[in-house]
Structures are given as structure tokens and as C-alpha cells.
């Protein structure tokens, strides 16, 4: 899976939980889920669970704590998929 495909899938997962539409329009690798998209911590958990299902991977607590930006999330997904 290319990074672009991955980003596309991640964008679709994140969409229902976004509170800041402006932030979502400008979504890029630097986007921070909490600060730019105003997603709360409970919905961040839903995103992680959706990521697990979509990519068939398991996210542990340490990885979860780092999954605060698009960039970090893509990196973690790639690492897990290649593991």
C-alpha cells in the first residue's frame, strides 16, 4: 500500500469524528488530531480501533499514545504492517 492510499484510508476513518471542518479541509501530514481537528480523546480511541480493523493490525498502549498526528499515525501503521 502506498503512503497516498494509506492517507486516503486514514482520512476516511477520521472524517466522522472531526469537529473542525477547516482543519479537515487542510488535512496533511502535520495535522494534529486534537489541536487541528478538535477530536476528543474518546473519539481518538474510536479512530485507533477503526485503524486496527481497516489495516488488520493491533495497536498497543505505547503506540496509541504517539498517534496524535497524521504523520505519526501513518508511520505506526506502516511499521505494524511491515512487522
Amino acid at each position: 500500500m502506498t503512503k497516498e492510499q494509506l492517507l486516503e484510508k486514514l482520512t476516511a476513518i477520521v472524517k466522522p469524528y472531526v469537529q473542525n471542518e477547516e482543519g479537515f479541509k487542510n488535512l496533511n501530514e502535520e495535522t494534529d488530531f486534537i489541536n487541528d481537528l478538535e477530536i476528543n480523546s474518546a473519539n481518538l480511541v474510536d479512530i485507533i480501533l477503526d485503524v486496527e480493523d481497516e489495516f488488520d493490525i493491533e495497536i498497543d498502549n505505547d503506540s496509541m499514545e504517539n498517534m496524535l498526528t497524521v504523520k505519526a499515525t501513518i508511520q505506526i501503521i506502516q511499521n505494524k504492517m511491515n512487522a
Binding site: N40, S41, A42, N43, L44, V45, D46, I48, L49, N61, M64
Partner: protein, 149 residues
């Protein structure tokens, strides 16, 4: 963990404690009961001259029994006098089917959907004494223990 101990760890008190007893509790779910006292403060205003238990109070009862008592049980090893419980309701979606009148006793039954990354999500329903469905829905909360420095 004894069920009385769980109730004692709840961060609520009168007039906002809506748990009388936990009937069953396990890693998968919980059931408990509560009787709405006929002199409860909200009956004075909901409704004028026609006391009916407000839906938000039914939802709160489902959350206290179905998510918070359950969460305390799931976190039992981590709770101590140094590690206090911190909770927050994060979402709920509830459908209501029947009214609950003053003095009615209800049973709440909750099943775990998941408990991951400190978020507990449950399917919760409430039944009256005739075992009729009063309301049902999904309730989620964040539940963690924190050092009291």
C-alpha cells in the same frame, strides 16, 4: 471485589447517587438496581403536578450502574487511596420506551462492547419491575486512575 465496596468507591452521593445494589458483575457486564425516591428533588419540576423521572436521570442511572460501577470493577487492581478514580461521560445514545414513576424500582443491565485505551463502551438497558423495557442505548466514558500527588 465486593459489590458494596464498588458502590463506596463511586464518586457520587445523594441527591445524585442512583445505585442501590449491584446484583451481578463480571468481566463482561454488570446488572444493578435502583428505586427512585418519591421525594427526589427533580419530581417537583418534572413535570408540574405530574411527576415522571426525567430521561436524563434514567440515562444517568444507566451510566452510574452500567459504566461507572462496571469500570471500577474492571480497574479494581489499580484503584487505591493513592490512585483515585477519574471519570468522564463521553457519549450516549438512548431510546426511551416507557415512563418511570416515583417509587419505581428499575434494573439496569450492561454489556461490555469494549474497554480499551481507558475508554469503556457498553450496551445498556433498563427494565421495570414487570421486566418491560424502559430504555436502552449505548454509553461510553473515559475511566482512569490517577496519582494524587
Amino acid at each position: 471485589m465486593k459489590t458494596k465496596k464498588i458502590i463506596s468507591l463511586l464518586p457520587y452521593q445523594k441527591p445524585f447517587l442512583f445505585v442501590d445494589k449491584i446484583s451481578e458483575i463480571s468481566e463482561n457486564g454488570v446488572s444493578g438496581i435502583y428505586t427512585y425516591q418519591k421525594d427526589a428533588y427533580f419530581y417537583k419540576g418534572h413535570f408540574k403536578g405530574n411527576p415522571i423521572t426525567p430521561g436524563v436521570i434514567l440515562t444517568e442511572t444507566m451510566a452510574q450502574i452500567g459504566v461507572v460501577c462496571f469500570g471500577i470493577y474492571l480497574l479494581k487492581e489499580k484503584i487505591s487511596s493513592e490512585n483515585k478514580l477519574q471519570i468522564a461521560l463521553t457519549s450516549h445514545q438512548v431510546d426511551f420506551f416507557l415512563p418511570v414513576l416515583p417509587n419505581e424500582k428499575v434494573t439496569v443491565v450492561s454489556e461490555k462492547v469494549y474497554f480499551r485505551f481507558n475508554k469503556l463502551k457498553c450496551k445498556v438497558k433498563m427494565m421495570n419491575l414487570k421486566n418491560e423495557l424502559v430504555c436502552r442505548g449505548e454509553i461510553s466514558g473515559m475511566i482512569i486512575t490517577k496519582d494524587n500527588e
